[in-house]
């Protein structure tokens, strides 16, 4: 059985968000880069847990990005991936990224493709759905539990106002979130092993870009917090009702 885990590089959540070149580019100075938390904690760790139960499982990792992604791919290998592909292209267009990953997927015939629920930088929650269409597999988004029984997966996912449990014959594409697994820290043995695991750099396929970023904006600065004295609760409620019209 072969699992593909899609990992992306994102700024650490505590990074200061700023832009340069007349707000057309993200300011990377001083930013700490991490594996997108949903990819690392939930998609990758769940794949590793499945492999721990069944050592014949092979885990491939894929990322679309430049050489600056290599450190996060090495970390993902250290956690437990077997082999990684980096598609050497920089793009923010979801279709371009998904189509590149779909090319890898078509060549390698995976039984399972895991993505994170969304990338914490551009928050589109789009790549998994796009890949599934391009490789013509069922898609289960926002999964919170994943169990494998032979070639049947039992998946719990979040739906509006609750959750749904479903059975699906592999192959399937799954977007993963909290509940799927618990965060892990790579150990020394994993870090050493990762150095010699294959990281294949692949040139991108010719794919159209359908969108582009014109520029960024920061939200208008808040007027500041209006403080109300602790002994004047009625004033807070009056402000919420009359000024903010919040209820």
């Amino acid at each position: 059985m072969k699992i593909l885990v899609c990992v992306s590089k994102t700024p650490d959540t505590t990074s200061k968000i700023a832009f340069k070149e007349s707000n057309t580019q993200f300011e990377e100075a001083g930013v700490q880069w991490i594996i997108n938390p949903y990819d690392e904690w939930f998609a990758l760790v769940r794949a590793i847990e499945l492999k721990e139960k069944d050592p014949s499982i092979i885990i491939h990792l894929v990322t679309v990005g430049g050489a600056d992604c290599d450190p996060i791919i090495r970390k993902a290998l250290a956690l437990g991936g077997d082999e990684a592909f980096r598609i050497n292209a920089d793009s923010n267009d979801s279709f371009f990224i998904a189509a590149q990953i779909a090319e890898i997927a078509k060549q390698n015939q995976y039984d399972l493709i895991f993505t994170g629920k969304e990338a914490i930088d551009y928050n589109s929650a789009a790549i998994g759905g796009m890949i599934s269409e391009l490789v013509d597999m069922p898609y289960v988004s926002l999964a919170t539990l994943f169990e494998l029984n032979g070639t049947t997966a039992t998946i719990t996912r979040e739906i509006e106002g609750g959750e749904e449990v479903a059975e699906i014959s592999l192959p399937v594409v799954v977007s993963c979130q909290k509940g799927m697994a618990e965060q892990r820290i790579p150990n020394m043995r994993g870090i050493m092993a990762a150095r010699t695991k294959p990281l294949k750099v692949v040139e991108p396929a010719a794919i159209d870009t359908l969108t582009s970023i014109v520029n960024f904006e920061l939200p208008p600065a808040k007027a500041g917090c209006k403080m109300v004295a602790a002994d004047n609760v009625p004033e807070l409620i009056r402000l919420l009702h009359e000024e903010a019209k919040a209820f």
């Binding site: 938390p37 979801s94 589109s124 929650a125 796009m130 069922p138 059975e167 903010a244 919040a246």
Partner: protein
């Protein structure tokens, strides 16, 4: 040409988010000089002609029980077929669970540029540029879509619902449906609570409440406001509250009109899930709590003293005995 608006439904009813995208899609259609039409999938018991009052001239339905569960593969084929039959050039979704499952897949099938998490109407004065939230609400990006067909998935709670006095014609589309490859074995709805992602008001508690036995003050406040309830991550991790209430970067993202934070410090990972709220109120005994920097209104004080007074005051205002 038309703008096709794909409406969310569950339990045979149109969802609140659907009214927002009806207004949004109708305004967009007026802006680009075309008609707005809605698409309803599955069996729905609501009066579909009445959706005309949100600005659409036609409502198309594919009335099949097999569409009552959202299977992205089946939905995508069906929606793409509806796009072809209605000759739509823009397809609008709501970035809800359903939208997150389907919009991107439809975009890939149509080879249409996608903006997921749109925050306002496109600028069509020169091209087609849509504003969306990025970095968990800490910034916006303006995205230009270059493809002939465009797909937009609108963040819930980002536009107001506008009504007119129109009615719509309703027709059934004839689309052959594939069998679903997903066998749903159980659906567990959280009953008796307002789903967090749909709540207009959210009252949320953190470690400052000290323990699950103290949640009564928060629940009383939520009740008088008709609010959904949420919590910080440590509260969910400690099982003081159910996991599905945990908001933040790793939990649920909410964007209500009013978010009331009780005994929550306002860590950046918490704010990432709530900072698209219109108005934020913080009650915290520590004047240095970072949440005050993000909030609109605040009281420095002991929540156990302040919250019951808030509840009493709101009751008075609403005339509840």
């Amino acid at each position: 040409m038309s703008v096709l608006i794909v409406l969310d439904q569950s339990d045979n009813h149109i969802k609140k988010s659907a009214y927002e995208i009806l207004s949004y899609g109708s305004q967009l259609a007026a802006q680009i000089g075309t008609t707005a039409e809605a698409l309803v999938l599955g069996t729905v018991n609501d009066d579909l002609a009445a959706l005309g009052k949100y600005g659409v001239s036609k409502v198309h339905q594919v009335n099949s029980e097999s569409l009552n569960h959202v299977d992205a593969q089946l939905y995508t084929k069906t929606i793409a077929e509806a796009v072809a039959q209605t000759n739509a050039s823009v397809v609008v979704f709501s970035q809800t669970h359903t939208g997150k499952s389907v919009a991107a897949r439809v975009a890939a099938r149509l080879k249409a540029g996608l903006v997921a998490g749109a925050a306002s109407l496109p600028d069509t004065s020169n091209g087609f540029i849509v504003r969306k939230t990025v970095f968990s609400g800490k910034a916006f990006a303006n995205i230009s879509i270059q493809s002939p067909i465009k797909v937009i998935s609108l963040n819930p709670n980002s536009v107001s619902v506008v009504t007119t006095d129109g009615t719509a014609t309703v027709d059934q589309l004839s689309i052959a449906l594939d069998a679903s490859k997903i066998k749903v074995t159980a659906v567990n709805k959280i009953t008796g609570e307002i789903p967090l992602t749909e709540a207009d008001i959210v009252v949320s508690g953190g470690r400052g409440l000290k323990g699950p036995e103290n949640w009564g003050v928060l629940l009383d406040l939520a009740k008088v406001l008709g609010a959904g309830t949420a919590c910080s991550r440590p509260v969910g991790d400690a099982h003081w509250r159910p996991h599905h209430e945990h908001v933040g970067q790793t939990g649920v993202q909410v964007a209500p009109n009013l978010y009331i934070a009780l005994g929550i410090s306002g860590a950046i990972q918490h704010l990432a899930g709530v900072n698209r709220s219109k108005v934020m109120v913080v009650i915290n005994k520590d004047p240095e709590a970072p949440f005050f920097k993000a909030a609109d209104y605040g009281i420095v004080g002991d929540l156990f003293e302040i919250v019951p007074q808030m509840t009493a005051e709101i009751k008075k205002l609403k005339g509840i005995a």
